[in-house]
């Protein structure tokens, strides 16, 4: 049966080409129509193929489509081929769906921007690259999408290129990502030369024969892949680009830097679950790095005043969660959180965009407040998303976050310590998110009068996408209700066939990782305990930022050192600057001025000038007058003949 998978990536590509080649010659309405329609159709086609996939028997759910041979070099053959299986189907639906919603929202948000056409062109290119990433059926094609989304991220962060901070941020994002990609590439080399292929099916089928479980080679390969993931998904040590990426337009932050691109690392690890399961050391590193990032970013988020920066650090923190899930071999839980996070974090960003829109570009929460009245729709949807991210029961975030916490406690790779750190981060998350809500929507308005007079609710084209996402943020979690609450975790079951690393691909009905050795009672207790703690954190936020604002100020003053550290984001940027960037530039200057110009050229030119000096010494003989030459020739002839005669 022909599924025409290629349409899913071709449509956004066509949108990109059409808008890009006719840039500046199309009316705004037409530009946005092309952009939205191409992504919308791509989503619709994705849904169609998804249902075709569902109709297949559970064990055989995979659609593979080869378009053409991309690089043939001897035994190295890579095809341009696509794969639609449960994992990529989830990603396709999330990516295309959220992209479509954000495209619609952007029509309103970017309406007055002179770069309207350029914006949609980049956005379509992004969707193309991201869908290529998730639909690829081999690592190299995934890498194409991987770098492609990086490019779009670069272009869109630096969208307002006249601002130096924007183009700086874009460049930083690209270069930091490149460092990650470096690891990814080397990882691919190891895999190829060991397995002889980069195709998922071949790699996963042959990996058990080729690699020894826990061996050095597989550990190195997976660690390198993980380095790639830390770059793309903003984990320690390569997270520094994501906060700066907020220089881009807000819908871009929502789409690329919250919902889709930054989750590519999680997708990649879930996709490679077979390899990661063979390297327990790497899994531990992934879990620890993930949780450390989650904790660090959450603490930084406590002390930020820029609404988008709080959300950016929150994204880093939530991504850390997803990695923690992968690190305890709960890949399905990671993907589950990826999906719910895509909904509620996109909503949070779009909501903040609506706020910023109303505030005429102001992003500092210290000058906001009381927006509840002027922006009811934004407020309600934003509040729903906040409840979701905080993990209040009944909202999507609760299910996915609880799943991760439980797995980090109960899985073979988990431990109570991981669980405790995760819980603490969840409490912090609830605290800073409600701090944000209280500062922005509650209390007195702290903006100047001019701004105050112009406060308004955003147009329908922006609020309707918010509502759609709000609905998704609520119901998105119900596909994965855990067993203990009477559900059957259908999401995990759906992804089960892909997670061959967990069950060796043999049986697809039984769960290996269902809380072995742990009782349902423990699970319930932990769940209720965490909810209670989160509620307390929310109350604290309420008390500090609404009831008793002075107390918050006093605490800040008493802990000024800690506050400075958090507000300064642990000064990681400065440390990198002093340790890496400055030495690099100074070293390069040294190489150029001293080695190149002075030493190498000095030697070459020195030789030349020695020859030149000798020539200058004998030069006077050449007088330039012809008669002198003639005399000399004659004299020479006479001397020669004389010599022969006398001899």
């Amino acid at each position: 049966m022909n599924h025409s998978l290629y349409l899913i990536i071709l449509l956004p590509l066509l949108g990109f080409l059409l808008n890009g080649l006719l840039l500046g010659r199309l009316k705004k309405g037409f530009v946005s129509f092309i952009a939205c329609a191409s992504v919308g159709l791509s989503f619709v086609w994705g849904v169609k193929v998804f249902f075709e996939l569902l109709a297949m028997p559970e064990g055989a759910r995979a659609i593979q489509e080869t378009l053409f041979t991309w690089i043939p070099a001897g035994q190295f053959q890579v095809d341009f081929s696509l794969l639609f299986d449960p994992l990529s189907s989830v990603m396709v639906l999330v990516v295309a769906g959220v992209s479509f919603i954000i495209h619609i929202y952007s029509i309103g948000y970017m309406h007055d921007d002179p770069g309207f056409g350029r914006y949609f062109t980049y956005l379509n290119l992004f969707v193309f690259a991201m869908l290529t990433l998730v639909l690829a059926d081999n690592y190299l094609l995934m890498f194409v999408g991987w770098e492609g989304v990086g490019l779009c991220s670069y272009l869109l962060i630096g969208f307002w290129f006249e601002k130096k901070s924007a183009s700086d941020a874009g460049k930083k994002a690209f270069i930091v990502n490149r460092i990650g990609d470096f690891g990814f590439l080397i990882g691919l080399f190891i895999i190829f030369w060991q397995v002889g292929s980069l195709n998922y099916a071949d790699v996963f089928a042959r990996a058990p024969e080729v690699f020894a479980v826990g061996g050095g080679v597989i550990t190195a390969a997976t660690l390198l892949l993980f380095l790639g993931a830390t770059g793309k998904s903003a984990q320690i040590p390569l997270f520094v680009w994501l906060p700066d990426a907020m220089e881009g337009p807000t819908p871009v932050s929502a789409l690329i830097h919250a919902a889709t691109m930054v989750t590519a690392g999680v997708y990649m690890i879930a996709r490679s679950n077979v390899l990661f399961m063979m390297a327990p050391t790497t899994l531990a590193v992934v879990a620890i790095v993930g949780l450390a990032t989650a904790l660090m970013a959450a603490t930084i988020a406590l002390a930020q005043n820029d609404i988008k920066r709080v959300l950016a650090y929150s994204t880093i923190s939530q991504l850390g969660y997803m990695f923690a899930a992968c690190g305890v071999a709960a890949f399905a839980a990671g993907i589950f959180h990826l999906m719910t996070h895509a909904f509620f974090k996109a909503l949070l960003f779009l909501g903040s965009g609506s706020v910023i829109h109303a505030m005429a570009g102001q992003q500092d929460m210290r000058y906001m407040g009381g927006l509840k009245k002027q922006q009811p729709a934004t407020f309600v949807t934003f509040f729903i998303a906040t409840l979701a991210i905080a993990g209040i029961p009944g909202f999507s975030g609760f299910f996915s976050k609880d799943e991760i916490l439980w797995k980090s406690f109960s899985s073979d790779f988990g431990s109570p310590i991981l669980w405790a750190v995760g819980l603490f981060t969840a409490i912090l998350t609830a605290f800073y998110m409600f701090r944000l809500v209280y500062l922005t929507f509650y209390g007195e308005g702290r903006m100047d009068n001019h701004t105050k007079a112009h406060l308004h609710e955003s147009p329908k084209v922006m609020t309707v996408p918010l509502m759609v996402l709000a609905v998704l943020s609520v119901i998105g979690g119900y596909v994965g209700i855990p067993h203990v609450l009477g559900g059957s975790n259908r999401f995990e079951q759906f992804l089960h066939p892909v997670m061959t690393g967990l069950h060796g691909g043999a049986d697809t009905s039984e769960h290996v990782l269902t809380s072995a050795g742990h009782s349902a009672g423990t699970e319930l207790t932990l769940m209720i305990g965490s909810v209670v703690l989160i509620l307390i954190a929310i109350y604290m936020a309420y008390y500090l930022y609404l009831k008793n604002i002075d107390l918050a100020g006093r605490i800040r003053n008493n802990l000024s050192g800690v506050h400075a550290l958090l507000h300064g984001k642990y000064f990681v940027d400065e440390i990198y600057g002093a340790l890496i960037i400055r030495p690099l530039i100074n070293g390069s200057l040294f190489l150029w001025k001293i080695i190149d110009v002075f030493v190498i050229d000095g030697i070459a030119n020195g030789l030349a000038s020695i020859v030149g000096d000798i020539s200058t010494g004998v030069r006077p003989v050449q007088t330039g007058t012809m008669r002198t030459y003639a005399t000399m020739i004659l004299a020479g002839a006479v001397v020669l003949i004389g010599y022969f005669i006398i001899r």
Binding site: F189, S197, A201, D202
Partner: protein, 528 residues
């Protein structure tokens, strides 16, 4: 036709020179038109040759072998394989583009300029088609003369210094090459009892390791200066900065490839043992070149010298891939030669276009050009991204294969080289940021006019090639594969079919899994 096509392609530009001599020097437009048409027809002939080329056949094609100076066994022996085919195509395309790009840039000495360009084209093509070492040497030296004039007459303020430096560096190398060439010539006489410079015959001759070492060093030095391999690169920035735009395009696009081509055609197959012996040395020099070129490029103030140093880095990749001595590395290396010609050529064209408008190339003099010249900036961006090897552009295919092949040969080298990919992003994006992004602070930059039709025509073919090689490079790989395998079989002294078994993957028999089977049997493509 089969026999004459190479002669036709190579010497057609000379016919153009003869025509140009008849045109009075005042009629600049006629001169330009004639040279454009001649170079374009040359390109069409080369296209015909490309079509006639049998992609899967082994050995040389379109061979012609007639005595030239019979007393010394010197023959007019031409022939091409897949590698030379691709380089010839690159040369003919870039020549058309270079001529079109100098339309308004060259105002004085128009006639001499175009004559030099056409002579240069013949010289370069001659190097790629020669199978007789003497002929090879003649073309190698002949091409110096027009290039010397291009830099020395139509160049920038320090043109004399740059031109002389270029010639002296190259001559120094070729002198040693000449000595080694003569030694080889007499060695062959001792071996076969006849005098011959014929490369294909010399391939058959076993040479003692000691002699190989010295001759390899002599040839390698000549080629390494041309490439240029660190530390023989210092002529390159000067020559590039001073040369006129078209000169830089040809210099970077084709001339540097003559060095790498020389390694492939002469050094590797003729001195296999010496090659293997010198792999670490050349690889390390290439690695230094990659990192050093990128670092120095980062701190350049002149866009053109930045691109020149980036060439040092890119050519380091080419050398590294070649020295991996496996199929992936060498095919990556060959495709990277083409890529570098396209991307760096386009970068020089772009720099030239902006220089024509502003008469400066200092990065600090620009900023915010995306606002005043959007089309220019878009082209600039695409070319820069291809130069740093973004997937789906040509640069990625080459760099990936080179690193893949190198990783097999020596993983440490590959890791160091891969860091060059990061640095490439640093210097390119930083330059882009300072040139096309930011605010328009300088009033001179505000009223710059965007690219005109001719300038777009110059760039579009290169952009098309960038994406073509990036997305569907298969036609190129098919054509070069037999040639690469032939060279490797000579280096490793194994059968052509065994090349991959020796250097290949340790999984002996690839198995098909699921619906796909990605590995073709070892060397399946070469036996036909």
């Amino acid at each position: 036709m089969e026999q004459q096509i190479l002669t036709l392609v190579t010497f057609f530009p000379v016919i153009g020179v003869a025509l140009l001599l008849l045109v009075p020097r005042e009629r600049a437009d006629t001169i330009k038109a004639v040279s454009l048409i001649v170079s374009f027809v040359t390109f069409l002939f080369s296209l015909l040759m490309y079509v006639m080329f049998d992609p899967v056949a082994n050995g040389m094609q379109f061979e012609i072998n007639i005595p030239w100076i019979a007393a010394f066994g010197i023959h007019y022996h031409l022939g091409i394989d897949g590698i030379s085919l691709l380089l010839i195509m690159l040369t003919t395309i870039l020549s058309v583009i270079a001529i079109l790009s100098s339309w308004t840039a060259i105002k004085t000495g128009v006639k001499g300029y175009y004559i030099s360009m056409l002579l240069l084209e013949t010289g370069m093509l001659g190097v790629f088609v020669s199978l007789d070492l003497f002929l090879f040497y003649v073309f190698w030296e002949a091409m110096l003369v027009p290039m010397y004039f291009l830099i020395g007459v139509w160049g920038g303020p320090r043109r004399i210094y740059a031109a002389i430096k270029f010639v002296l560096f190259t001559m120094f190398g070729s002198l040693l090459m000449l000595v080694a060439l003569l030694y080889l010539f007499f060695l062959y006489h001792g071996y076969a009892g006849e005098y011959s410079f014929d490369l294909l015959k010399i391939y058959e001759m076993p040479i003692p390791l000691g002699a190989q070492t010295y001759m390899f060093l002599a040839f390698a030095l000549a080629f390494a200066i041309k490439v240029p391999v660190w530390p023989f690169h210092t002529w390159l920035p000067d020559a590039h900065v001073e040369a006129p735009t078209a000169g830089s395009v040809i210099l970077a696009g084709v001339l540097l490839k003559m060095g790498t081509y020389g390694f492939l055609r002469v050094c590797l197959p003729v001195f296999p043992e010496a090659t293997i012996q010198f792999v670490p040395l050349i690889s390390i020099l290439a690695l230094i070149g990659i990192v050093y070129g990128a670092l120095v490029a980062m701190v350049q103030r002149d866009v053109k010298s930045l691109v020149a140093f980036s060439s040092v880095s890119h050519l380091g990749f080419v050398m590294l891939g070649m020295m991996a001595l496996n199929v992936q590395g060498m095919e990556g290396s060959v495709i990277q030669m083409i890529n570098h010609g396209i991307s760096t050529g386009a970068l020089f064209l772009i720099v030239g276009m902006i220089y024509e408008r502003r008469h400066t190339r200092l990065i600090a003099d620009f900023g915010g050009l995306a606002k005043s010249m959007p089309v220019f900036s878009t082209f600039f961006m695409i070319v820069a991204l291809s130069s740093i090897g973004l997937p789906l552009t040509n640069g990625f295919v080459g760099e990936f294969l080179i690193l893949l092949g190198t990783f097999k040969a020596n993983s440490t080298y590959a890791i160091i080289a891969a860091s060059g990919v990061i640095l490439a992003a640093c210097y390119m994006l930083w330059m882009l940021q300072r040139v096309i992004f930011g605010k328009l602070t300088k009033p001179e930059n505000e009223k710059l006019v965007d690219l005109n039709i001719r300038e777009r025509l110059v760039l579009i073919p290169l952009i098309v090639l960038i994406f073509w090689i990036g997305i569907y490079p298969k036609p190129f790989f098919i054509r070069m594969e037999p040639a690469v395998k032939a060279i490797l079989s000579m280096v490793h002294k194994v059968d052509r079919a065994d090349v991959e078994r020796k250097e290949g993957i340790h999984v002996a028999q690839p198995t098909c899994v699921g619906t796909t089977c990605t590995i073709s049997g070892g060397g399946a493509g070469c036996g036909k």
